[in-house]
Point group: C2
Chain length 155, copies 2
DNA sequence: CGCGAGTGGATGACGTGTCAACAATGCTTG
DNA sequence: CAAGCATTGTTGACACGTCATCCACTCGCG
């Protein structure tokens, strides 16, 4: 169909494998942890964190999706489920008839205030503590580089 | 409930944020890409890759789960879905009445042989090309370090 | 031999993510 | 003011992952 593919050379493949496996295991463990510690899913945690970091725990729906870089449909489903459990509520927006606010309820605040310290502990234990401060800094900087690269790449 | 939490200091938080956002965006883009390029999900891809790298495209079920580090239930569901689409087949195991083999069908081979070069291209384009070879090597090495650290950590 | 423990794997329920389509409102222009 | 077009958000269908549970089979031991 097209030119012969350029496979990764061995060093590249090793680096890619390590990165992918690390990332998967880390994220997997963290989300199972936050779930069993607090009953919040990783998604719940992200949404509540974004809400409670904002004035009044109240954010316009689309702003929320941008803040966490989610698609609106994903957010809509998530907010729906969280509303059903009483963690957040939807409110109408006076100045735009289509619009909506999402608000963290007292339940929501309670839940994330309980979950956050545990979450930080696990991040520390599984990730931060694995590296020296310089290594951590390096990893952060390389991540930022990849991020920037992706942003100016189609797709 | 317990001692005051030790939050991440600013450098740590920045590094963590960059890493998490990068990883999420990268994995998200890659899996949407492989999906739209080839009709295979990321999960399909992983399973087919593991199968077709093995003698005869045939692997014992539990071996397969170990090779890709998945839980058996996840694999069972995945194999079920893939079997329904004709990408793999289940075969009984003569020497263990409980056992099962998973086999890549010709369809399965066709699918991954079509998908693989495109997948590699995207990995290259989004990730490898963002870094110099030394940086890539560093990132790989740091990932391996975190991985090793997690493995000797509870949970 | 028979019985209980462990192993290999499947299943159902449920929360999650994506895609495509839709509804409702706002905006802009003739 | 009316006709479109863009924006804001929801919905339904479906694939995916996890947890708990279950079943069939094997193996070891009395």
């Amino acid at each position: 169909m097209n030119a012969t593919p350029r496979w990764l050379d061995p060093e590249q493949k090793v680096a890619w494998d390590h990165f992918i496996r690390m990332q998967e295991k880390l994220v997997g463990r963290l989300s199972r942890r936050v779930q069993s510690d607090s009953g919040l899913s990783a998604a719940d945690y992200v949404v509540l964190a974004a809400l409670t970091e904002s004035e009044g725990g109240r954010v316009r729906f689309l702003d929320l999706t941008k803040r966490v870089e989610w698609e609106k449909s994903r957010m809509s489903h998530q907010v729906g489920r969280m509303a059903k459990r009483g963690l957040v509520a939807r409110e109408e927006c006076p100045e735009d008839g289509r619009g909506a606010f999402v608000v963290a309820t007292p339940e929501g605040y309670r839940a994330i205030e309980e979950a956050a310290p545990l979450h930080v502990e696990h991040v520390r234990r599984l990730f931060i503590d694995a590296l020296t401060p310089e290594e951590l800094d390096t990893l952060g900087r390389l991540s930022a580089r990849v991020l920037a690269h992706m942003e100016q790449q189609p797709d």
